[in-house]
């Protein structure tokens, strides 16, 4: 009898902890939503947390963002899409090829492990080391304030994710599948294209999502390499700093707008996110 009470107590305690942890993870989003529903003067004068009870929610800020500032926001989101998709296509394509190469061939001298580690080590490179020369080069090439400049940058920075994740994915496929196709006269390219590639589709999707999310959220290079026309959403978010102080309401609306695309994509490939973010070291 006491034992079962103990068990009940323990499980109640566990659920309390689980709920606290979840609330903690969700709280900033809640705060952002609540803030986006308050009028600016309410935000700055009456601190509050619960709509209806403490304040009257309004869509005023959303209206302002989507109508008056709609063109600016829309253009920034469009720029972010172009940049992130462009970078994702390049990184995922080259990363898939390189990942396959590293998983299926043997390299001598500079061995497979060395090449893999070299790709991984790119993530160790602080962006601050390359941002000044990048700026000077992009300026010389007349590419300042273009999508292309940021596509090149983000493709480079997300490539390690793509290579390592795809290498890991191809390593998991049994090589016999392709070998039997060769017996039937298929070439290496054909067996890659028609057997391994389709089987690796989920991993490719996960790779693409991770490359997309990192490119989408990149800020430093976007700030330095764009002036106006090619500015992505992260730079527009930084525009909330106003001479009269921080505009809380736009922080909230823009954060919520900006998180939607990568978060929705990530939920689709949830199973692979752990593997992707650890470069394939931990299977999710």
């Amino acid at each position: 009898m006491t034992k079962s009470y103990q068990k009940l107590g323990k499980s109640i305690l566990l659920w309390v902890l689980i709920i606290i942890a979840t609330a903690w993870a969700f709280f900033p989003f809640y705060w952002a939503i609540v803030t986006s529903l308050k009028e600016p003067n309410v935000i700055l004068t009456k601190p509050s947390l619960v709509p209806f009870w403490q304040f009257n929610p309004t869509l005023y800020n959303w209206q302002l963002e989507l109508t008056t500032r709609g063109r600016e926001i829309g253009r920034a989101l469009g720029n972010s899409v172009i940049i992130a998709v462009g970078a994702t296509i390049i990184a995922t394509t080259l990363g898939t090829l390189a990942g396959y190469g590293l998983a299926r061939f043997r390299f001598y001298g500079w061995g497979n492990k060395d090449i893999t580690m070299w790709f991984l080590s790119q993530r160790f490179l602080p962006p601050m080391v390359t941002v000044i020369p990048f700026f000077l080069v992009i300026q010389t090439l007349n590419l300042l304030d273009t999508h292309l400049a940021l596509i090149l940058v983000n493709a480079t920075f997300t490539m390690p994710f793509a290579v390592l994740l795809m290498r890991d994915a191809f390593k998991e496929l049994p090589p016999e599948l392709e070998e039997s196709a060769w017996v039937d006269g298929a070439s290496r390219w054909q067996s890659f294209r028609h057997i391994s590639l389709p089987l690796a589709a989920p991993a490719i999707a996960a790779t693409a999502v991770i490359c997309f999310a990192f490119s989408w959220n990149e800020f430093l290079f976007a700030l330095i390499l764009t002036l106006k026309d090619a500015q992505p959403i992260t730079v527009i978010i930084a525009g909330v700093e106003h001479t009269q102080g921080i505009q809380f309401w736009f922080v909230a609306t823009r954060l919520l707008l900006a998180i939607l695309p990568p978060a929705l994509l990530a939920l689709l490939v949830q199973r692979y996110i752990v593997r992707g973010l650890t470069f394939g070291a931990v299977k999710g």
Partner: protein, 287 residues
């Protein structure tokens, strides 16, 4: 497997060439810059090791390094420990685990720059979320988060911890779920102390994953820029001015590109030392 040596380079070559093209040149260029007096709008002159010498006599350099180390140690320790705690908490048969995991996935995808600004509103002294809660709990002397050195540091660490704990949690949970169940069945015969099971079985078996998580966190934490950039602008004073932030100020606000490049190279050397320290273990993990 038979080698077709041309073909294999067709697979791996483009990726290598791409990364080489976009990293080697900038790296060499900033190495060169670091030996020059290069300020925008002034003649460029050779400076030898002056920029490096200058760094070691620059108290802001040492301060930035210190701030970064404090940040890295605090953030990495907290995220890994909290992540481990959460992973142990959620590692049980339970309803709705997928739902909870989805919630914990979200923080990872918030743009850090946006998160920094949100942090500014959350820790705002008069109308921020944290102080609103503290006031409701009856606290009278509310903390002034952004005017106190250590509170400001705590605030940026907490925001970073919020963003990265889910990463540690999800990875460690995956690690726990990959452990063989038979071991626990066998252990249950010997002890029913949860602590013993953790100490002698779970922890040692989880070490490789803990190592991976820690090193990946270290690498990211050392580069931190966006959160202090948007949340505190490095203040109060230079209390939250991280190393990357200092390079940014020197190179991109004051346009002293030579000195900024030298500072960047010092950071790069630090990263190489850290990488070197872990490299053999990393090689094993990515076997």
């Amino acid at each position: 497997m038979q080698e077709r040596s041309r073909l294999k380079w067709l697979f791996v070559g483009p990726g290598i060439l791409w990364v080489l093209a976009f990293t080697i040149f900038p790296l060499l260029y900033s190495l060169r810059l670091s030996f020059y007096n290069a300020r925008m709008g002034r003649p460029v002159t050779f400076a030898g090791l002056d920029n490096y010498r200058r760094a070691f006599n620059d108290y802001r350099f040492w301060d930035a390094l210190e701030v970064t180390l404090i940040f890295v140690v605090a953030s990495v320790t907290l995220t890994v420990l909290l992540g481990l705690g959460l992973a142990l908490l959620f590692h049980r048969p339970m309803r709705g685990q997928r739902f909870f995991r989805s919630i914990f996935l979200l923080p990872l995808f918030v743009a850090p720059i946006a998160l920094g600004y949100l942090g500014l509103t959350i820790f705002h002294e008069q109308v921020g979320a944290v102080n609103t809660v503290l006031r409701a709990m009856g606290m009278v002397n509310l903390p002034a988060w952004f005017s106190d050195v250590w509170l400001a540091r705590l605030a940026i660490v907490l925001v970073d911890v919020w963003q990265w704990t889910p990463f540690c949690f999800l990875v460690l949970l995956a690690g726990l779920q990959a452990l063989p169940e038979e071991i626990y069945e066998a252990a249950a015969l010997d002890t029913d102390s949860g602590w013993d099971t953790f100490r002698f079985i779970t922890f040692p078996l989880l070490l490789p994953v803990l190592f991976t998580v820690t090193i990946l966190r270290l690498v990211e934490a050392f580069k931190v820029l966006d959160i202090p950039f948007s949340m505190t602008s490095g203040g109060p004073g230079a209390a939250t001015q991280t190393y990357s932030f200092y390079i940014y100020l020197v190179g991109l606000r004051n346009f002293n590109q030579g000195y900024a490049s030298a500072l960047a190279y010092i950071l790069l050397i630090l990263m190489v030392i850290i990488a070197f320290f872990f490299f053999n273990r990393l090689r094993e993990i990515y076997d």
